[in-house]
Subunit: 200 residues, 2 copies
């Protein structure tokens, strides 16, 4: 865009580095940025730097935090006997939105995938084992996505915990609510059938 000033071209290039943002969208976002209020601009500029420099991983559960421990690990209102295992920090917000789960989390930061060269030692499994040994954990809920990598990881973790005094559960797979049955794939249907429950 030779007709745009440098600062605008730079901004367009930066937006283009973000996933799913192409040339046209980057241009639209950059032009919209010019029209933001001064205080938003300052906050935006500062937050970008802060997001890179201040955000670390919680030393216990690997969730995002600006301190040593994340808000959830620090909280005194949580059920400290349950750990929900998730793949990424962003998965935590899905559970937090429910407002029904009150336990702790453990972020794996990946799933076991030998084909991609991701082995058990590459994800946060050893720190999970340490937590189960040190903390007073009675249940571990595996909540990773139902893919080959997810199932492999779930199986690996459940094998590791086999002889430990902790209950290992996995979130249920089945028919999601509100969908038309004819759009359900056969694997999901098979799992839903296998995990069928008595009608109370």
């Amino acid at each position: 865009m030779k007709n745009y000033p440098n600062s605008l071209n730079n901004l367009i290039e930066c937006y283009k580095k973000l996933p799913g943002i192409g040339e046209k969208t980057a241009e639209r976002l950059a032009l919209a940025t010019i029209n933001l209020d001064k205080e938003i601009i300052d906050l935006f500029s500062e937050s970008i730097i802060n997001a890179k420099t201040k955000i670390k991983k919680c030393s216990k559960c690997h969730n995002f935090t600006e301190e040593n421990l994340c808000e959830i690990c620090k909280s005194t209102n949580r059920d400290k006997t349950t750990i929900c295992i998730v793949e990424e920090p962003k998965n935590i917000s899905l559970f937090e939105k429910l407002e029904t789960y009150k336990g702790l989390y453990h972020v794996l930061d990946g799933l076991i995938s030998p084909l991609d060269g991701i082995n058990p030692e590459d994800i946060n499994i050893s720190s999970l084992i340490d937590r189960i040994k040190e903390e007073n954990i009675s249940e571990v809920i595996i909540a990773v996505k139902p893919s080959i990598e997810g199932e492999t990881t779930a199986l690996y973790i459940s094998k590791l915990l086999e002889n430990m005094p902790v209950k290992v559960t996995k979130i249920a797979h089945g028919i999601p609510i509100g969908v038309d049955m004819e759009y359900i794939d056969s694997l999901t249907l098979e799992m839903a059938l296998e995990d069928r429950k008595d009608v109370a």
Copy 2:
């Protein structure tokens, strides 16, 4: 998102101020921002501030610039006798991509729309008249969108320039290239029929 640290929440809020960016996309972009390289982060943060503080309007054509005159007005390789009138600065890049138009531009920064309270004095028309009087302009090409506001603006400008020694033209409306005829609306077809040309 109470489980995210403040700096991340702030960044999500900033992304949400941009047009077309909702909660989910803002979250995705913010998480992706954390993974950008340090130099991109610095440039991104700086560009946002610069886009707000450095970018002004060219004193001649109202295009974006960081100086008094924009690159196009400053250039010595342009045809200084032709002005192409556009609605917004971003329209200029459409013409520049063609690499065939070598004239100057004039950005109106809006279109006349009495219903929205936008009158001729609210857009950059008087500065256009000044330019035609002061510079050696032989042709003015009106290149605004074919809407009621666009047509009103085009008509107003052409009336104003009626008695001035300048040729006023308008970009052609008609059937776009590569579309199926059956998808063309009747107004476009009417215009295309009216503006028909002899087959050479």
